[in-house]
C-alpha cells in the first residue's frame, strides 16, 4: 500500500522552531513529527510513503536517506513548484500512488498526531464499499474548524460546513483519509481544495464515508497545541505501552526520557514532560508540561513549565521559564533570569528577564 503525507509549507506558526528545521522534522515526544506517522504506516503494511513538500527539499531528502534504511520503507518526495492546495498534490504524485493493484492509499496531514488506527480504517473503508473514507474527531468548539456532517448509522458524509455559526455537528475533519485510486481521476493538477471541491462530489455520489477517530487527536502546528498534544500522547502511551515511560521517585505523572539523557539528583520531573536525546538535566531541577529537545542543558535549581526548550539550548541556574516560553535552537537563558512567555529566535542569549510575553529576535 502507499501513502501521501501533505507536508506543505513554511510552518510559520511553529516558529522559532521551524527557523531551524522544516516542520515535519521538529521533534515531538523525542522523535521527528513525521516519523510518528511513517512508523504507524509501516506497521499497517504501507511500503512507500510520498511526502508532498514545497519547501526546503534538500533538508527533507537528507532526513529521508537516514530513515529509509533504518525503517525499511521507501520514502520519496513530490515537490510542488507552485502551491497546489490540499488536493492538487495528490494529482502531482499520481504516478507514485497508483501501482495497478487497485489498493486504496492513505493521505495524511503532517501536523496531525493521533493513535493512527489505520488497520481499523482499512476495515471500515472496505466494509462500507467506500470510495473515500475520512477520519473525523469530536471537538468541543466545532466552529473553529470545518465540520463534517455525518449520517450516524451508515457513516455516510452528508456535507461539509466551514466554521459554522450555528451548531450543525461536532465532528471535524481529522486530516486522515483512505482513498481509492479512482479519487485521483477526480482531481486536476491545479490548486484544488479537497474539502471544498473533491469530497463534496464524492459525497453527492454517496461514496464518501466518515469514521470517528478513536483515541486522541491534535493538530500540533502551533506551540499551545503542541504542549496539549504531548499530554494526550503521553496519556495514550500510559495506556498502551507504559514501559516506555520513566519511573522513579523523581517522576510525577507521564514522563518520557530518552535513554541517552542524564538527570541529576533532587529533581522533580512531570507531569507531561519529554526529555530528548543527549539532554542534561542538572540537580534540583523542576520540569512540568514541557519539552526539552536534543542536547539541551537545564542547569541546577531551575524551574520550567508549559514551555518548549529548543535543540542545544541552555537554561541557567535558578532560572524560571514558564507560560509558553519557546526557545529556538541554541538559545541560552542566563542564570537567575525569568521568562514569562518569551519567544526567542535561534542563537540568542537572554541576559535579562522577560516579564511579559514577548518575541526576542
Amino acid at each position: 500500500m502507499k501513502a501521501l503525507i501533505l507536508v506543505g509549507g513554511f510552518g510559520t506558526r511553529l516558529r522559532p522552531l521551524t527557523l531551524s528545521v522544516p516542520k515535519p522534522l521538529v521533534d515531538f515526544a523525542n522523535k521527528p513529527m513525521i516519523l510518528h506517522q511513517i512508523e504507524a504506516l509501516k506497521e499497517v503494511g504501507v511500503t512507500e510513503v510520498v511526502l508532498a513538500i514545497n519547501y526546503q527539499p534538500e533538508v527533507m531528502l537528507n532526513f529521508l536517506k537516514d530513515f529509509e534504511s533504518k525503517l525499511g520503507i521507501k520514502i520519496t518526495c513530490s515537490q510542488e513548484t507552485e502551491p497546489l492546495g490540499t488536493a492538487g498534490p495528490l494529482a502531482l504524485a499520481r504516478d507514485k500512488l497508483i501501482d495497478g493493484s487497485g489498493d486504496p492509499f492513505f493521505v495524511l496531514n503532517s501536523d496531525v498526531i493521533s493513535e493512527y488506527p489505520f488497520a481499523e480504517l482499512i476495515r471500515f473503508h472496505k466494509s462500507r464499499g467506500s470510495e473515500a473514507t475520512i477520519m473525523v474527531t469530536k471537538v468541543e468548539e466545532p466552529s473553529k474548524y470545518g465540520v463534517v456532517v455525518v449520517e450516524e448509522e451508515t457513516g455516510k458524509v452528508d456535507r461539509f460546513v466551514e466554521k459554522p455559526r450555528i451548531f450543525v455537528g461536532n465532528k471535524i475533519n481529522a486530516g486522515i483519509y483512505l482513498l481509492n485510486p479512482s479519487v485521483l481521476d477526480r482531481i486536476e493538477l491545479k490548486p484544488t481544495s479537497i474539502e471544498k471541491e473533491v469530497f463534496p462530489k464524492i459525497a453527492a455520489d454517496g461514496k464518501l464515508h466518515a469514521m470517528v477517530l478513536p483515541g486522541f487527536w491534535m493538530d500540533i502546528g502551533q506551540p499551545k497545541d503542541y504542549i496539549t498534544g504531548l499530554r494526550l500522547y503521553l496519556e495514550a502511551t500510559r495506556r498502551r505501552k507504559p514501559y516506555k515511560l520513566a519511573v522513579g521517585p523523581h517522576i510525577v505523572g507521564n514522563v518520557l526520557v530518552h535513554e541517552t539523557a542524564v538527570i541529576g539528583e533532587g529533581c522533580l520531573i512531570g507531569p507531561d514532560v519529554a526529555i530528548g536525546p543527549g539532554c542534561v538535566v542538572e540537580d534540583g531541577v523542576r520540569l512540568s508540561r514541557c519539552t526539552v529537545m536534543r542536547a539541551a542543558r537545564i542547569k541546577k535549581h531551575s524551574c520550567i513549565s508549559g514551555s518548549i526548550i529548543g535543540w542545544h539550548s541552555t537554561v541557567g541556574q535558578w532560572a524560571r521559564v514558564e507560560n509558553m516560553t519557546i526557545l529556538g535552537e541554541d538559545v541560552h537563558v542566563c542564570d537567575e533570569v525569568y521568562s514569562n512567555g518569551g519567544v526567542v529566535l535561534p542563537h540568542k542569549e537572554i541576559k535579562s528577564s522577560i516579564l511579559n510575553p514577548a518575541i526576542v529576535m
Partner: protein, 415 residues
C-alpha cells in the same frame, strides 16, 4: 604624488552570521554586508571609497560567512572596479586585530606601504585620500577616523582624547561608564605594516604574563585574560588603548555624516544618507521624473534600471527601489527601501518601511511606521515573500518571511 613605492591594501571586516542577530529579520535571508543601501550592497560603499585612493592594489573582505555567500559579489565587483577584491574566511574568532594578523601573509603579499582597515557596518563619507595624506604627515603607526557626537550617545562607542594641535591620540577607552570625551572612534583606520609588529607584541606579552606570574588559584579564576585565548587580540582594548599617548597613533576628524549600521531601522537612515551623497558624487544614479512619462520623483530616489514604476506613482524622498520591482499606478512611497522583485499594487502607500524581496503589497493597502530609526518597531520591516492583502494596514510592525497578512496589525512582531 608620494613615493613611487606607495601601495595601499584595504581590509574590510564584514563580521559573521551568528553575530548579526540584531539585523534580523533581514539577515535571515541575506548576509548583512550584502544588504543594499541606496541601491548598492552595504559593503559596496566602503569598497568604492577605497577605490578613490591612488595606488590601491587590493581589497580584502574578512569575515565568518561561508565563502559561497560572497563568491558572486566578489567576482562581479572585481570585474566592475578593475581591482582585485577577495573574501577571506576566518576559521575562528581572533578579535578585530587578531583577524587582521591572521591574514598578514595575504595582506603583505603586495608589499603595501599602507593598510586601510574598515568595518563594513560603518556608514560614512570615508574621506580616505585626505586621511591618507594626513597619516603620512603625522608619520605614526596608525591614524583613526574620529567624529564628534552628542555627549549622551558617546558612551556607546570608543571615546578618545586627541591633542588639538598635533592630532595625536592621547587617550582611548571603549564604551566607558563615565563621560570621557565626545570624540569617538569611527571604525576606519590607516596603518603602516608596523601594526603587525604591535599585534605580535600583544601575543608575546600575553604568553610572558602567563608564564612568569605564578597566580594562586583564586587569581587564576579572576584573571580577565584567562577567558581569552592567546591569539585573540582586540584592536580597541589591546592596541589603541595601550599605544595612546606614545606618539604612535593619530586622529583625523570628519565633519560629515557617520552611523553604525546595527539594525534594519538604521539601515534605512543610512540609505538616505548615501542617497543624499549621490547628489554630489554620482548624480546620474538618482532618478528624476515629473509624472508625464515617468513617475513623479521627489528628493533623492534610486530606482534600479530593471524596476518599473507607473507614471501616476509618486516616489520619494529617500526611496530606494531594487531590481525587477514593480510599482503600480497611484502608489505613494516615502522613506523606504523596496527590495528585489517586490510588487506594489495600485494606490498602495508605503512610508518609513523596508519591503523584503518578492513581497507583494495589495491595492489600497498601507505599510508604514513612525520613522524612529532607533526604536525597536520604529520602522516597519517585511521579510522575504510577505504578502499584504488589499486594503490591509500594517503599522510599526516586523513581519518574518513567508507570511500572508489578511488583517491589519499595529505594533507587533509577526513570526
Amino acid at each position: 604624488m608620494g613615493s613611487s613605492e606607495e601601495r595601499v591594501v584595504a581590509v574590510i571586516m564584514v563580521g559573521g552570521p551568528t553575530k548579526g542577530t540584531r539585523f534580523r529579520p533581514l539577515s535571515l535571508n541575506v548576509p548583512k554586508p550584502l544588504f543594499p543601501l541606496a541601491g548598492q550592497p552595504m559593503v559596496h560603499h566602503p569598497i568604492l571609497a577605497c577605490r578613490r585612493i591612488p595606488n590601491l592594489v587590493q581589497v580584502y573582505l574578512i569575515g565568518f560567512y561561508e565563502e559561497r555567500e560572497f563568491a558572486l559579489y566578489v567576482s562581479a565587483i572585481s570585474n566592475e572596479l578593475r581591482i582585485p577584491v577577495r573574501y577571506l574566511r576566518e576559521d575562528k574568532p581572533h578579535g578585530s586585530a587578531g583577524g587582521l594578523y591572521n591574514f598578514r601573509d595575504y595582506i603583505m603579499e603586495d608589499d603595501p606601504s599602507h593598510i586601510v582597515l574598515l568595518n563594513c557596518d560603518v556608514c560614512s563619507s570615508f574621506p580616505l585620500p585626505d586621511m591618507l595624506e594626513a597619516h603620512k604627515r603625522y608619520g605614526g603607526l596608525g591614524t583613526l577616523l574620529v567624529i564628534k557626537v552628542s555627549a549622551e550617545s558617546a558612551n556607546q562607542f570608543g571615546e578618545l582624547v586627541a591633542d588639538s594641535v598635533t592630532n595625536e591620540l592621547l587617550h582611548y577607552t571603549e564604551k566607558p561608564e563615565t563621560f570621557v570625551s565626545d570624540l569617538i572612534n569611527c571604525g576606519v583606520y590607516i596603518f603602516t605594516p608596523e601594526i603587525f609588529t604591535a599585534i605580535q607584541g600583544v601575543f608575546t606579552q600575553r604568553k610572558d604574563t602567563a608564564n612568569m606570574r605564578r597566580m594562586n588559584s583564586f587569581e587564576a579564576l579572576q584573571s580577565a585574560t584567562k577567558a581569552l585565548p592567546v591569539d585573540y587580540v582586540r584592536l580597541d582594548q589591546d592596541i589603541l588603548s595601550p599605544l595612546a599617548g606614545k606618539k604612535q597613533l593619530y586622529t583625523y576628524e570628519t565633519l560629515d555624516f557617520w552611523e553604525q549600521i546595527k539594525t534594519p531601522g538604521i539601515s534605512l537612515k543610512c540609505s538616505a544618507l548615501y542617497l543624499a551623497q549621490y547628489r554630489y558624487t554620482s548624480p546620474h544614479l538618482l532618478a528624476s521624473g515629473d509624472g508625464t512619462k515617468s513617475a513623479t520623483i521627489m528628493g533623492d530616489v534610486f530606482i534600479h534600471p530593471s524596476a518599473k514604476a507607473h507614471p501616476t506613482a509618486k516616489i520619494g524622498p529617500n526611496v530606494s527601489i531594487s531590481a525587477n520591482a514593480r510599482i503600480g499606478a497611484g502608489v505613494r512611497l516615502i522613506s523606504c527601501i523596496i527590495l528585489d522583485d517586490v510588487e506594489i499594487k495600485e494606490n498602495a502607500v508605503v512610508i518609513h518601511s523596508i519591503v523584503g524581496w518578492k513581497s507583494s503589497i495589495g491595492k489600497w493597502s498601507r505599510v508604514q511606521a513612525e520613522g524612529d530609526y532607533n526604536a525597536k518597531l520604529g520602522i516597519t520591516i517585511l521579510g522575504e515573500a510577505v504578502a499584504v492583502e488589499d486594503e490591509v494596514v500594517v503599522v510599526n510592525s516586523i513581519v518574518l518571511p513567508n507570511k500572508t497578512l489578511a488583517v491589519s496589525f499595529q505594533d507587533e512582531i509577526i513570526l
